[in-house]
């Protein structure tokens, strides 16, 4: 398996990650802009047991706009934040991709907080934009699951590889009693982003279909 090393600017704080990341994402939120000093942040998540951390770091704790606590670990000598941990995903460590100093590092799969994106930043269409799901989110939050499933057909046609769109639509189909569609879309989502299998295992949106043999086979 590939082993990659991330480091801060001065080289004091080093992190070694084995294997490929389970999720690479870019985030345009204002907090990521402040922390990075740049237009967006990019982070790669690895299972904690595949990451080795050496040397000293200080912590900055921040509660995200969604209410989740994040602890950012930075080098006390040069200030670089090399990795962070999140309470609700305690088995994953997020490493700041720039710390690998490797332009060939796997590109992001998803782009979040697109509403805060600097307009001149060019994001290729191959990177999933959360703006696509944002158009359906109010209906999801209102519990209009069948309505989301109906409207999503066109979006999935336009963005057939957007794993998190497929996942969210599968959630709605599960709740709307459309079992076959839910399993088909969840299968496609997991094929593109394996981490979504773990999410599905603990997501109450899938409770209505959790005992289906096809769901159990897919999620375990």
């Amino acid at each position: 398996m590939t082993t990659r090393e991330a480091a801060c600017s001065c080289g004091q704080l080093r992190v070694e990650a084995t294997g490929d990341p389970v999720r690479v994402s870019m985030c345009h939120c204002l907090a990521c802009q402040r922390r990075s000093g740049s237009a967006f942040a990019i982070q790669a998540r690895f299972p904690t047991d595949r990451v080795k951390i050496a040397c000293r770091f200080n912590d900055h704790v921040r509660v995200s706009d969604d209410g989740d606590e994040r602890t950012f670990h930075f080098c006390p000598d040069c200030g670089s934040t090399v990795f962070y941990t999140a309470g609700e995903m305690s088995d994953l460590i997020a490493i700041a991709v720039g710390a690998f100093a490797d332009p060939s590092f796997p590109p992001p799969v998803v782009s979040v907080y697109e509403s805060r994106r600097h307009p001149w930043v060019v994001v290729p269409e191959t990177i999933e934009s959360d703006a696509v799901w944002e158009s359906l989110r109010p209906l999801y939050e209102a519990g209009e699951y069948a309505e989301v499933a109906d409207r999503a057909r066109e979006l999935i046609g336009a963005y057939p590889d957007y794993s998190e769109l497929l996942y969210n639509v599968a959630c709605c189909e599960s709740r709307a009693g459309r079992t076959a569609d839910a399993i088909d879309h969840l299968r496609r989502a997991i094929a593109r982003q394996a981490l979504l299998r773990t999410f599905a295992a603990g997501d109450s949106d899938f409770d209505p279909i959790r005992d289906e043999p096809a769901f159990r086979e897919l999620v375990g």
Partner: protein
């Protein structure tokens, strides 16, 4: 109220200015990637008399790889690690502020790009950058 206000993540270190930057540039060098944790550094140049700085700073000194081997002093917040600005001892009239610290997607776009050979291939070249 100042035209532009920059701050670190925790808000301890702040930079204010009533002026627009004389240049905004992006840099894809590996040192900027490590410092920012992302695909490029993004910075706005001001003259020293145009900005007010408040808060405690820690310094990290780095000598540039470029032929001039110029010294850069990065000023970061000791509480949260956020680098808010840098200075160059050889250019005492210059203050370079990290654009992300303004947390303002309407901040002026970059018109220059450095170290484009290090740009990750999936990062698009903004149309605001002058042709190479």
């Amino acid at each position: 109220m100042a035209a532009h206000e920059a701050a670190c993540s925790c808000g301890q270190l702040r930079v204010e200015t009533d002026h627009d930057p004389f240049v905004v540039s992006m840099c894809h060098c590996l040192a900027c990637q490590r410092r920012t944790g992302t695909a490029f550094g993004l910075q706005a140049g001001f003259t020293a008399d145009q900005v007010q700085i408040a808060g405690a700073v820690s310094d990290y000194v780095r000598i540039s790889d470029e032929a001039d081997e110029k010294e850069h002093v990065f000023h970061f917040c000791p509480e949260c690690g956020g680098t808010v600005f840098y200075t160059e001892p050889d250019e005492p009239g210059l203050i370079v502020v990290m654009v992300g610290a303004f947390a303002d997607p309407s901040f002026p776009a970059p018109t220059e790009a450095g170290y484009e050979s290090r740009r990750p291939p999936w990062v698009g070249r903004p149309s605001t950058i002058d042709p190479a």
